[in-house]
């Protein structure tokens, strides 16, 4: 399987060249264009239970697409949001991903979901995906991705953390102890502790969601 990230900049596209026998898995809806020699199958991968957990809790689509080609062919994948696409060769390490960050992976990469958040009023916790296994894993951010080397402690707003080494400890907490801060979910932060890398994205989907709120239609009652 060969890959190329084209149109580097704000709106890159991931083009994968599949050889006979290759399999690529992607989140549903990621396919932009492909040769007609590529087959796309939709399936709940890893069993219904695992997919439900991944899909509903993780915010990822329940159904994942599987691409193969008996004669070889290309498939172009894109995320929904503008921003960078990154490729990581997994080799037994564990990488944590924000729920919107997963794009695609080879057949030997496993993605699991778990939830880490604040108990109480707001279910504004972090839905986190855990990537393990071996082979290529493609992920993306909203905006540009910056790498921060954490030595000790560091705070990242939970809308901006896109990926981090599993070796880092973290807690999700309110950024300020004042009562007023409960008025917005954006004030949840991740406090990282230890040694490892955190990747941040330069825009936050939560902020965008809050901004677009008044433009949404109002649900009619009755």
């Amino acid at each position: 399987m060969q890959y190329e990230i084209q149109c580097a900049g704000s709106f890159p596209v991931l083009e994968i060249s599949l050889a006979p026998g290759d399999t690529l898995v992607s989140e549903a809806g990621a396919m932009a264009w492909m040769d007609t020699t590529v087959d796309c199958k939709t399936a709940a991968r890893g069993g219904v239970g695992a997919s439900l957990k991944r899909g509903i809790l993780g915010g990822e689509s329940f159904f994942q697409n599987s691409y193969t080609s008996s004669t070889g062919g290309k498939v172009a994948l894109v995320p929904g949001q503008p921003g960078e696409i990154r490729a990581t060769e997994m080799d037994g390490q564990k990488l944590m991903l924000e729920r919107g960050a997963y794009l695609a992976s080879g057949p030997d990469v496993t993605i699991n979901a778990n939830f880490k958040g604040l108990k109480g009023l707001f279910a504004e916790g972090m839905f986190v995906l855990e990537a393990t296994g071996s082979g290529p894993m493609f992920w993306n951010g909203y905006g540009d991705i910056h790498e921060v080397q954490v030595e000790g402690d560091y705070i990242v707003d939970n809308g901006y953390a896109v990926a981090w080494d599993a070796s880092l400890d973290y807690n999700v907490q309110r950024s300020s102890k004042k009562v007023r801060s409960f008025l917005f979910g954006d004030q949840l932060v991740m406090r990282f502790h230890g040694h490892g890398r955190v990747w941040t994205q330069s825009r936050s989907p939560r902020s965008l969601s809050a901004w677009v709120f008044p433009f949404r239609r109002v649900k009619s009652k009755g």
């Binding site: 809806g29 264009w33 159904f63 697409n65 894109v78 729920r99």
Partner: protein, 219 residues
């Protein structure tokens, strides 16, 4: 008349200067600033309204504004709603097919017609009509994201309908599901366009549908 594209590749927009008598068609909602001596008239593309209902057509943005200048050196700035590239094509009697949302502006000699995409197009999320652009003059169009050109030489290409900007009419096209029914509904791809034959197709690297699906998870 002068027209410059500024802001590419991420925030393409048009900066124009119109002289007395110049006029330009601009998609509705795209005008961002203009001098006082520019006059606007609304026009509906394709002539009469098919019986499908005015509201549907309004959502299609088949309405354009015809902006004409009554004085020298009147400024007109035009921006697409979604960031990306803005491109220019000089039309010389050729024909180009285009997704309605990709049209930004054109000069007087360009003819804009609508082509019904077929019933399946209704479910594509992109709308029922395509634009058929012919004539002589300047055409400006926009892509959400970056533009990729693919040339087909007797080959085929499957494209998610949200990623189509335009194509040459020499190509055959067909809207279809992604395979079996489950694949179509659940794969998230909805409908795709299958191109075959010889000609160029212009693709964009992001889609409104993709952006909405992503953002929906945070609402």
């Amino acid at each position: 008349m002068q027209a410059d594209i500024a802001g590419n590749p991420d925030f393409g927009h048009l900066k124009m200067r119109l002289d007395r008598g110049d006029s330009v068609y601009v998609e509705s909602g795209a005008m961002s600033a203009m001098d006082d001596r520019i006059d606007v008239q609304i026009k509906l593309l394709g002539g009469f309204l098919p019986a499908v209902g005015r509201k549907l057509l309004l959502n299609e943005s088949l309405l354009v504004g015809r902006y004409s200048s009554g004085a020298p050196d009147q400024r007109l700035s035009v921006s697409p709603a979604i960031p990306g590239q803005v491109l220019h094509k000089s039309m010389q009697g050729d024909t180009v097919m285009m997704q309605a949302g990709s049209f930004l502006a054109c000069t007087d000699g360009i003819k804009l017609g609508t082509v019904f995409g077929g019933i399946k197009a209704l479910f594509s999320g992109e709308g029922m009509f395509f634009l058929k652009v012919t004539g002589n003059g300047d055409l400006w169009y926009n892509a959400y994201g970056s533009i990729v050109e693919k040339e087909l030489n007797g080959s085929e290409l499957t494209v998610d309908t949200g990623h189509i900007v335009g194509w040459e009419p020499s190509l055959n096209w067909e809207i279809r599901g992604m395979g079996n029914l489950m694949s179509t509904i659940f794969s998230g791809e909805g409908l795709v366009m299958r191109f075959s034959g010889t000609g160029k197709v212009w693709l964009q690297t992001r889609s409104v549908g993709g952006l909405v699906n992503w953002l929906r998870g945070y609402c």
